[in-house]
Amino acid sequence: MATDEELVSHVGHGDESALRELLRRYERPLSHFIHRSTAGRDVEDLYQETWLRVVRHATRFDRTKRFSTWLFQIAVNLCRDWHRRAPPEPIDVLPDTPSRDESARVDAAIDAQRLLARLPEPQREVVILRYYHDLTEEETARILDCPKGTVKSRLHHALAQLATLGRPAGSESS
């Protein structure tokens, strides 16, 4: 089976089947990362833009590096640009017609998204990559292009803030 790095070099030469395979491998983690980073807004645009950049710059991809790191670096940069462009809006990610069974889970999902959305962007990125995608500190640092110590401190502060945000309203001040 071809590695990601081999596939991306074929993508650089316009190989559609190689791109299809990369899409298949990364569609879930990438779309979920973007969804969590932007609280579900403009996911499709950002997802397509990420892959467009992959195709455009595939020939310049350094094959000694990991494709997944490169892909997420692109996604992180696009999400940062998106946050600079778009002012925060209330999160309304309810499906068009949620069933009664789903409503509790949807509420919980919105609640979790609100928690994440209230974190500063650098902390949110670290939480998503470390907590949801289970990446190591080294991998997270490479994607975010920052030292490992910065990842640790951002995660520490993020968890502290999440804990504060997660407490009941009455105990938040204590």
């Binding site: 979790a112 470390r130 289970d134």
Partner: protein, 159 residues
């Protein structure tokens, strides 16, 4: 890099929360509702039809892929042409030698004018076949989406 989309909180995430609670002064004074926090974060399940997302992305990327394929085909075509031209002097020299022998044989049997006519006609046919063969090479290379190494080896086999 291992990328995953956990349905339950990853154990490492829980450990990290627990480690934070141990090291953080504020949390030591007032213990974190760790399980509740983990549960709340974990509730952030994403409902996206990733397959449809990818299908639409692929459709949007099609023109860019075609541009890439065309850009990649030009160097491949030039390289294919150059490779095919390499043995040309040898082939031309061999054909000239062959035609000379044929002319010698035919002129021994037929009048010189007729022999010359036949040999020149045969030579013209060879030139036409050469022209057709070489003009087909760019088309074959451009149509082929296969890796360059495959084409090179095929050309080497043909030539």
């Amino acid at each position: 890099m291992k990328l995953r989309e956990p349905e339950t909180p990853p154990s490492e995430g829980r450990q990290r929360l627990a480690a934070h609670a141990t090291n953080c002064d504020a949390c030591r004074n007032e213990p974190l509702p760790l399980d509740r926090l983990a549960a709340r974060l974990n509730a952030s399940r994403v409902d996206i039809d990733s397959t449809n997302l990818s299908r639409r992305a692929l459709a949007r990327l099609q023109p860019e892929l075609e541009r890439r394929a065309l850009a990649a085909a030009w160097p491949r075509m030039l390289r294919g042409l150059l490779l095919s031209l390499l043995p040309l002097p040898l082939v031309v020299a061999f054909d000239a030698y062959f035609l000379n022998i044929v002319y010698g044989l035919v002129s021994a049997l037929l009048p010189a004018t007729l022999a010359a006519y036949l040999v020149v006609s045969y030579g013209a046919l060879l030139v036409l076949l050469f022209a057709l063969t070489y003009s087909a090479i760019p088309l074959l290379v451009m149509r082929s989406g296969r890796p360059l190494s495959t084409i090179d080896s095929q050309l080497a086999t043909v030539l």
